[in-house]
């Protein structure tokens, strides 16, 4: 299992469009991917779960990957969040 903490930087946070592309990108990996936000774990492959977590700009998120290709998944996830989720 690997994990890393990053901060959400895009102004609107995880609203629907970034959440869609994020969940889509995570769906490619066979490993389990979770976002730990405010003590709660969120399934990073589920768009609905991400939106429901209401992750705003400035929130610290811990990405946790466990399983096959975990390092690769972690790198892409943290990269996406740190670069502002394409916004």
């Amino acid at each position: 299992m690997v994990s890393k903490k990053v901060t959400v930087v895009n102004a609107m946070g995880f609203h629907m469009r970034p959440a869609t592309s994020f969940a889509g990108a995570m769906g490619k990996y066979p490993c389990d991917i979770k976002l730990r936000v405010g003590g709660k774990d969120v399934n990073a492959k589920s768009l609905m779960n991400i939106i429901a977590a209401c992750i705003k700009c400035g929130t610290e998120v811990e990405v946790i990957c466990d399983g096959e290709r975990e390092a690769e998944a972690l790198a892409e996830a943290t990269g996406m969040i740190e670069s502002g989720l394409g916004e």
């Binding site: 609107m12 946070g13 995880f14 609203h15 629907m16 469009r17 869609t20 592309s21 889509g24 768009l47 609905m48 779960n49 939106i51 429901a52 977590a53 209401c54 705003k56």
Partner: protein, 634 residues
């Protein structure tokens, strides 16, 4: 912000059949428009389509949540459609969508993400989705959401953590108490959090006050912000630094307000009424203040009218069933009917004083209540210096006068008393204000009421002289008079003229009088049914009761509506009532009972035409109300 605050029955459409995504979008936008959420439909639609072009908002599991955050949105809202057969919304999972929610978010604020998040959290539950899909009415749909939301998000989930008391307290309120109240509270709490200043906001919404400020919290706070468009309980803030602004300022510039209340310029609030006016330094217009006072009176009067009116209608109904003779004792002929009529009348007797009393209270607080209430009562008895026990009542128009004049007289008195020695401070509110105030209002009302008597006498003479000339014209005048003041000198003159005519054997005059008194409530009831946008929520809800009151010849049902917007409502009622009265005369309708409404139609001569006249008059009133009254902004 709760989902059900954003979603109304108007913006829900169930069991639709939709053939395409485009049709679904149009249908949802139409719902938003219907609910008054948009100020520019085309721009909003363009934004929705632009968002869809970046990727479908169908998120799977049959759910689609199209959304746009744009200045074309007038107020934040949600629209919902269920389409059990599904529609191809280009979902990621390729399946059709059957549950569609469209979000309209205004440009400013974080509302967008929070609504989206809440909605998603609720929608993740499969039983919840299925309950929504199986809802057969909009009310049921809302109830399903309300239940689930209450379970997931108990009331006031996100208040700031208390740290050695709150430095700033706020009270937010708007007339409807649905959206702005909560938006302002949220904006203020958020701004406080960002500035590191603990802030608690009490919301005086439609469901009563929530997150109420405690005595201890008020004692510990450094300053108070009132962001409200209606009166809020102020006496508890005596001696605190306080600023009072419009609710919209609470939403738009929360940080500025916090800075202002903490600065040395913020005035210290002294509760006595006199300075209450000064604290509204943000410059509420005079007209707005008048409106606020008026509505405070009307909304407190309304329950008396509704309950009393229904009791009186029940009395007529009982006497009809018991087969009591339809004469002047009708409605009190049997003991049970007499019970209901007497109790109903008791409630009615309070109606006009309560209107004046609460106008006075709104203007000048507790001392104003006394003079308003007593002034209103003197308006109903018609006390004069010559006949202090009562003469010709000045009715609700007199009471409006009493409430406003009394309230402002009290404010003036409080200003004058500022010059009194400090030692008298303690006895001002308990002795000086009530005592002098009572004397003032008694003098004012006794001086005004005789004019009512003169008007009354003049009108009676006029009617007597007209009786010789045109019958139809007389009918028109009588009908209109019934609708002018609904219990004041005009109404009374017409009514007495009608009953006097019965005594002398002319039954057609009473028919015109009664129909003139039936039209105002009926016309208003019709208008609240067919032109909902012209009335606020409270007025709409009490609309149906006016059908009962109109049919029972209880003209008073129209008073709350007339009092809240006299310049538009009274002419509408007069014209409709005049038309009905004229027609009744034209058709030679007759009536031998001086009251009873539809319950005495059995003794009305030529009754089918009488009914026709009633319908015609009521429709005229409704149409005029629709034309004259402005749309209510909520």
């Amino acid at each position: 912000m709760r989902i059900t605050d954003l979603l109304s029955e108007k913006s829900i459409s169930l069991n639709r059949t939709l053939s395409s995504k485009a049709e679904a979008i149009d249908a949802l936008i139409a719902l938003h428009e219907e609910a008054g959420n948009l100020n520019d439909r085309e721009t909003y639609k363009a934004q929705i389509l632009a968002r869809e072009a970046q990727g479908s908002t169908a998120v799977g599991d049959g759910i689609a949540i199209p959304h746009a955050k744009t200045s074309a949105v007038a107020k934040p809202g949600l629209a919902a459609i269920t389409a059990p057969a599904g529609v191809d919304y280009e979902s990621l999972d390729g399946k059709p969508s059957d549950l569609l929610f469209m979000i309209a978010a205004p440009e400013d604020g974080n509302l967008h993400l929070e609504v989206l998040s809440r909605l998603m959290t609720l929608l993740m539950d499969e039983t919840f989705r299925s309950d929504l899909l199986h809802a057969s009415t909009a009310a049921e749909f809302l109830a399903v959401i309300d239940r689930k939301e209450a379970e997931k998000y108990p009331e006031t989930p996100e208040t700031v953590v208390k740290q050695d008391g709150y430095r700033i307290l706020a009270v937010t309120a708007c007339p409807t108490g649905i959206a702005h109240t909560y938006m302002a509270a949220e904006a203020l709490e958020k701004a406080g959090k960002e500035m590191g200043i603990p802030l608690k906001a009490e919301t005086n919404g439609s469901g009563g006050a929530k997150n109420v400020l405690t005595k201890q919290e008020i004692a510990d706070a450094d300053g108070i912000i009132i962001a409200a468009d209606k009166s809020v309980e102020m006496s508890r803030f005596d001696g605190k630094k306080l600023i009072s602004v419009k609710v919209s300022d609470g939403i738009k510039k929360p940080k500025e307000l916090i800075e202002r209340v903490l600065s040395d310029q913020a005035p210290v609030y002294h509760h006595s009424g006199a300075k209450a006016a000064d604290s509204g330094e943000e410059g509420e217009s005079f007209g707005r203040k008048i409106y606020k006072h008026l509505m405070n009176g009307v909304s407190n009067m309304l329950p008396f009218v509704v309950a009393g009116g229904i009791f009186i209608a029940i009395a007529f109904l009982i006497d009809t069933i018991m087969g009591a003779p339809q004469d002047s004792n009708f409605g009190t002929a049997t003991p049970v009917a007499a019970f209901f009529k007497t109790i109903g009348n008791a409630a009615f007797n309070f109606m006009v004083p309560v209107l004046a009393g609460f106008i006075g209270l709104s203007i000048a607080d507790r001392p104003g209540f006394l003079i308003g209430l007593v002034g209103g009562y003197l308006a109903t008895t018609g006390a004069t210096f010559m006949a202090v026990g009562g003469d010709v009542p000045s009715g609700f128009l007199g009471a409006l006068f009493a409430g406003f004049v009394g309230g402002y007289l009290m404010l003036g008195l409080e200003k004058l008393c500022d010059k009194l020695p400090k030692a008298l401070e303690g006895i001002k509110p308990v002795l000086i204000y009530p005592l002098v105030g009572l004397g003032m209002i008694a003098v004012v009302m006794c001086a005004v009421n005789p004019f009512m008597g003169m008007i009354n006498t003049g009108l009676t003479n006029l009617l007597n002289s007209m009786g010789q000339s045109s019958k139809v014209l007389l009918g028109i005048v009588l009908g209109a008079m019934m609708a002018i003041d609904m219990g004041g000198p005009f109404n009374k003159a017409a009514y007495v003229f009608g009953t006097a005519a019965i005594a002398s054997g002319n039954y057609d005059i009473m028919a015109a009088v009664m129909i003139g008194g039936m039209v105002p409530p009926l016309g208003i009831a019709l208008a609240t049914t067919f032109f909902k946008s012209r009335f606020n929520a409270q007025e709409r809800k009490s609309g149906p009761v006016n059908y009962i009151m109109g049919l029972s010849f209880i003209t008073e049902g129209a008073i709350p509506y007339a009092a809240s917007d006299p310049l538009r409502v009274i002419p509408s009622c007069m014209v409709g009532a005049g038309v009905a009265g004229g027609l009744s005369m034209l058709f030679n309708c007759t009536l031998m009972a001086p009251h009873g409404g539809i319950f005495v139609f059995a003794v009305v001569g030529n009754w089918p035409y009488y009914l026709l006249s009633l319908v015609a008059g009521s429709i005229v009133t409704m149409v005029m109300l629709a034309l004259l009254k402005k749309k209510v902004k909520e």
